[in-house]
């Protein structure tokens, strides 16, 4: 546990030192969403109809942007190898790095999301559910993304390859995240969607650190 906290603190510290990087992810998120009214037209009804989906897709793309560097810098300067030799199990180390990634990118996205929902004229009833769904969904995105980030270590073309690998795996989270918000706006319960998002998170928590650690191990072998 102390090892987990140590890595988490280190990564958070590194992230705050280069604070601009994380701001850029949020800025990308905002700009990507703002593009949609230009693309589909400013009509409030259409924007309200697609708001939840657009915000989710943009959040998914934004959280993927910074994933490439999740292990890359540590891989290049050799600290990943040191980490694997340290008494901390690699799975725990991966989990700590994922937690740091989520705190520095996932959480700011969730803070920015209501603002974008206002811009897209989303029905106000959906706001709390949007935040709850993002809170449940984005950690899963970070966890799944960590597997992809571990697998591309040392490959020739990192970023685009990462997108190709993990975007298909993001589809279930996207479906249920959007469906939860749409259900509440439509006047239905969204318990089933939230339970399923929670189940995805539990499953990802159990499996992804393990798979990502296997990926890191074969990369530094």
């Amino acid at each position: 546990m102390s090892g987990f906290m140590a890595i988490l603190k280190r990564d958070l510290h590194l992230a705050t030192r280069q604070g601009m990087d994380n701001m850029m992810v949020v800025m990308f998120f905002v700009i990507a969403v703002v593009l949609f009214p230009f693309g589909v037209g400013p009509e409030p009804n259409i924007l309200a109809r697609i708001a939840a989906g657009v915000i989710w897709v943009a959040a998914l793309l934004a959280s993927m942007l910074s994933l490439e560097r999740l292990f890359q810098t540590d891989f290049e300067d050799g600290s990943l190898e040191l980490l694997s030799l340290s008494p901390i199990t690699l799975e725990v180390a991966v989990l700590a790095k994922v937690a740091a990634h989520w705190l520095t990118t996932g959480l700011p996205l969730i803070v920015a999301a209501p603002l974008l929902a206002v811009l897209l004229n989303m029905n106000a009833e959906g706001f709390p559910m949007l935040i709850v769904a993002l809170l449940l969904g984005t950690p899963s995105l970070s966890l799944i993304g960590a597997v992809g980030a571990a697998l591309i270590l040392g490959s020739r073309r990192g970023g685009v390859l990462l997108a190709l690998l993990i975007l298909p795996l993001y589809i279930p989270v996207l479906i249920f995240g959007v469906s939860a918000v749409d259900a509440v706006i439509g006047g239905f319960e969204a318990n089933a969607q939230l339970l399923i998002l929670g189940a995805f998170l539990m499953g990802a928590l159990a499996l992804c650190p393990w798979a990502a650690a296997a990926g890191v191990r074969q990369a530094i072998e």
């Binding site: 040392g154 020739r156 479906i175 249920f176």
Partner: protein, 240 residues
């Protein structure tokens, strides 16, 4: 049992014996299936002659899933027992599986046009197939993205296992999403009961597609083994 085939030299010898059998089986069974499918089977009372697309569409869809499962099994064997041949088999299967997935999508679209009135609907099965195609393409991209080929197979073996766990989840999600958004009037492809006169050509084509897969798989595995030998020979030239 497994280790008897693991030796690449012995495998090459067995492969060169089995390969012509697979070729003949594919030609004969495929020919018989085509004859029954195109000439000697009835038109569906609802879908008319368009039902004949089923004889290529359904086997292609089956093979798309079969190939992905085979890849997952081969990847697991390769990761757990460090089997060189299993890694090669997974890598050799991927392009074949991607072809079958593309064919299932393409023929599904051609079947959909007369049945649904459009080339593409976000039907649960078609959508899942599309995601499966992306999984295949991701695998192929990853396996070729490393300068060291063993790194590529290791990383992509992990990917294919992660994908394999995800396939049922994706299927479930797409089904859920589909029932929310799809109007219920869509005609389902391939009803639950199927007449024997249609089952025979379908089964023949399915077996022919399987033997075709094994045929091309053997060719591609042999290619990979020889590519490995070339790599070793080149290294020897440089260092020797």
């Amino acid at each position: 049992m497994l280790h008897r085939f693991a030796n690449p030299t012995r495998f090459l010898r067995i492969a060169s014996v089995v390969q012509p059998w697979m070729a003949w089986a594919t030609v004969l069974l495929g020919g018989a299936g085509l004859y029954l499918g195109l000439f000697n089977s009835p038109a569906d009372y609802q879908q008319g002659n368009s039902v004949r697309i089923m004889y290529v569409h359904v086997p292609a869809a089956w093979m798309a899933m079969f190939c992905y499962s085979s890849m997952a099994i081969a990847a697991a064997v390769g990761l757990i027992w460090k089997h060189p041949l299993a890694d090669v088999a997974a890598k050799a299967t991927a392009p074949i599986g991607a072809c079958f997935t593309f064919l299932a999508l393409f023929t599904g679209s051609l079947w959909g046009k007369p049945m649904w009135g459009t080339w593409w609907v976000w039907d649960a099965r078609l959508t899942s197939m599309l995601v499966l195609l992306f999984l295949y393409l991701g695998y192929i991209a990853l396996v070729n993205a490393f300068d060291d080929p063993t790194r590529g197979t290791r990383a992509s073996s992990i990917l294919v296992l992660v994908g394999f766990i995800n396939v049922p989840i994706i299927k479930f999600s797409v089904d859920w999403w589909n029932t929310l958004h799809q109007p219920a009037s869509v005609i389902k492809m391939g009803g639950p009961s199927i007449d024997a006169s249609m089952l025979w050509p379908l089964l023949l084509m399915a077996v022919a597609f399987t033997t075709y897969y094994l045929w091309v798989l053997l060719i591609r595995i042999r290619t990979e083994i020889i590519a490995n030998k070339i790599r070793i020979a080149r290294l020897k030239q440089v260092h020797g």
